[in-house]
């Protein structure tokens, strides 16, 4: 059984997506339990897989028994074992938290929504687990297409902003496909490890250079790296809350993982950092991304849209960290994938709870909210502290690694950008907290004699939120274990 985990974590959700859409015709109530069972099984396989990787090292799973250069192999090591666990756990928690909000926001579309949700998770897990460059493209498009469909179910401008996302997303995926085509012409292989073995004598080839740049740009479009970020804020803001809180934490983070995988495995760090002299310009781009994300977030008067610009800045953290070219920066980038997925999930679940009770999340709607929803607001404070990077929460530790990596590499601009972004985040979150805690509720007209009754979101939404908020602190406290036992082995020895 445990031998088959790499296959199960993709096949179980994929098949249950089909079962869910069929079950929707019979009885809509069947869909949710099937989705929970499928994602629960996927999360179980992912955790089991990570434990196996920790014990016996990297695992190669051959689909249908075909050997790697010919057949498709799933290749799980410490890096993607960790990301797999994060993706599956975040998706599972968000599914449970979102049940009520899906029923409220999309009453007649629950069955297709659950099917798309599970399909999206299939794609994300597949991207992370696969060891085949072309297989990755197909799973990328599975993720993207189910994401478009889910985001377009939102209200207002959702369809228009999703269409813009679709244009950009398709260009991104096509660029990646083109880059893989170049690699295939040069090496004759699609397997990542095989490509990495064939490439070294070809490092000077212009085609390899072209392949690398085209792949990288494609992945950047998909992760909304600064000059290519324009699609993200609107698409994530207008989507239904259940879809945003799945897609916002996971899709950008999985794309960062793909970039790190391209650097570490496919093209090897030797090529990316030494043969090509592009690290510095890319770190500068990341600096621009962090500054612009922070400034644009400052201009927003809407909680959810503000958070989407914070994602743009966070993508800058991780791209910059990965391209610093040293161990601390890479550790920070990988650790930040884990932390940022949890932080973003936490704040987007808060937005989901607010949307469930208030039907709006502009700053004016939030006045005095703490009396109405104390637990939700408590979670927002923890999530906010973590995004700012206040010590026991996990955000502090990844930022610490990133900053020490920046100092080691002599990239002081990146360090300044990180500190600037932390300061801006302080302003952003304390502004929200001030509105929620100290301004009177908009209906109360400042009278204290009839305090607002508590109207908290239902327990099924609060418990997952509570788990995530506690998780933020626990991951922070166990950062040392995560780094020493997992991330340390994920980074090749050649990076010092």
């Amino acid at each position: 059984m445990s031998q088959q985990y790499p296959a199960l974590l993709v096949i179980v959700p994929l098949l249950s997506a089909l079962v869910i859409s069929a079950a929707g015709w019979i009885n809509k109530r069947l869909c949710f339990p099937i989705a929970v069972a499928a994602l629960g099984a996927a999360a179980y396989s992912c955790i089991g897989l990570l434990l196996r990787v920790l014990e016996e090292g990297a695992i190669v799973y051959r689909f249908g028994g075909w050997d790697p250069p010919m057949g498709i192999a799933y290749y799980v090591d410490h890096l993607n074992g960790l990301v797999l666990v994060v993706v599956s756990v975040v998706a599972f928690l968000n599914l449970i938290a979102s049940k009520k909000s899906i029923e409220l926001e999309l009453p007649d579309k629950t069955a297709p929504f659950y099917a798309l949700y599970v399909l999206q998770v299939t794609g994300l897990l597949g991207i992370v687990a696969t060891g085949d460059a072309f297989n990755l493209y197909v799973l990328l498009e599975i993720t993207a297409l189910s994401g478009y469909a889910m985001l377009a179910m939102g209200k207002d401008r959702a369809q228009l902003s999703t269409l813009n996302y679709l244009y950009m997303g398709t260009i991104g995926a096509c660029f990646y496909l083109l880059g893989v085509g170049y690699l295939y012409i040069v090496t004759g292989s699609l397997n990542m490890v095989d490509i990495a073995n064939i490439l070294p004598p070809l490092y000077e080839s212009k085609a390899v250079l072209g392949a690398f740049i085209i792949c990288l740009v494609g992945v950047w479009i998909k992760m909304a790296f600064f000059p290519l970020h324009a699609w993200l804020p609107n698409a994530y803001t207008h989507g239904p809350s259940a879809a945003s809180s799945l897609i916002a934490p996971l899709v950008t983070k999985v794309m960062i993982y793909v970039m790190i995988r391209l650097i570490l495995t496919v093209f090897t760090p030797e090529f990316a950092f030494n043969v090509l002299a592009v690290s510095k310009p890319i770190v500068w781009l990341a600096v621009a991304a962090i500054f612009m994300g922070a400034i644009l977030a400052l201009a927003e008067r809407n909680l959810k849209k503000m958070l989407t610009y914070i994602i743009v800045a966070e993508v800058g953290y991780m791209v910059g960290g990965a391209w610093l070219g040293n161990r601390a920066g890479m550790t920070g980038a990988i650790l930040h994938i884990v932390n940022d997925a949890l932080m973003t999930l936490c704040v987007f679940l808060v937005v989901g709870n607010i949307a469930y009770k208030l039907k709006g999340y502009a700053f004016d709607d939030l006045k005095g909210l703490v009396r109405k929803m104390p637990f939700t607001m408590g979670a927002l404070v923890i999530g906010g502290l973590s995004i700012i990077g206040v010590p026991p929460t996990c955000g502090f530790f990844s930022k610490w690694y990133l900053i020490s990596g920046a100092i080691q590499a002599g990239q002081y601009a990146f360090m300044v950008a990180l500190l600037f972004s932390s300061l801006v985040n302080v302003v952003l979150f304390f502004r929200v907290i001030e509105i929620c805690y100290y301004e009177p509720f908009s209906n109360a007209h400042g009278h204290d004699h009839h305090p607002e009754p508590m109207a908290e979101a239902p327990l099924t939404m609060l418990v997952p939120l509570f788990i995530v908020a506690v998780g933020l602190i626990l991951v922070g406290l166990y950062t040392g274990d995560i780094v020493n036992n997992v991330i340390e082995f994920a980074i090749p020895k050649s990076i010092v």
Partner: protein, 134 residues
Amino acid sequence: MGDLIQIVVAKYNYWIYITLMMIGLYAMIVKNNLVKKIVGMNIFQTAIILFYVSTGAKRGATIPILEHGHGEHGAGAHMIHAVDYINPLPHVLMLTAIVVAVATLGVALALAIRVYNRYDTLEEDEILAQIREK
């Protein structure tokens, strides 16, 4: 000049795909109509499909089916030279890419219909003007 023409003629398949790709990209950037953008997107995807398919081709090669694979001669009776057969792998990969392109096109057109139902137009500037008015 003569060198340039030689480069273009020798690698004409790549030039065709680059031209098509740029036409698609141009349509996506410049066109105002959402459906024209979708058409541009599809041209862009098709250009990449053509690129892959053309990389599998070889001069003087035939379809990759072994004529004497079975029967009294046996597979070992003939030496198989890879040069004699076109490379089938890029073609097979593109079957998947075509399916992806069709699915993307379907989703894009469905979204365009929803946008049209909402704003009664597919011209981007008119839609943005409507959004700004609100």
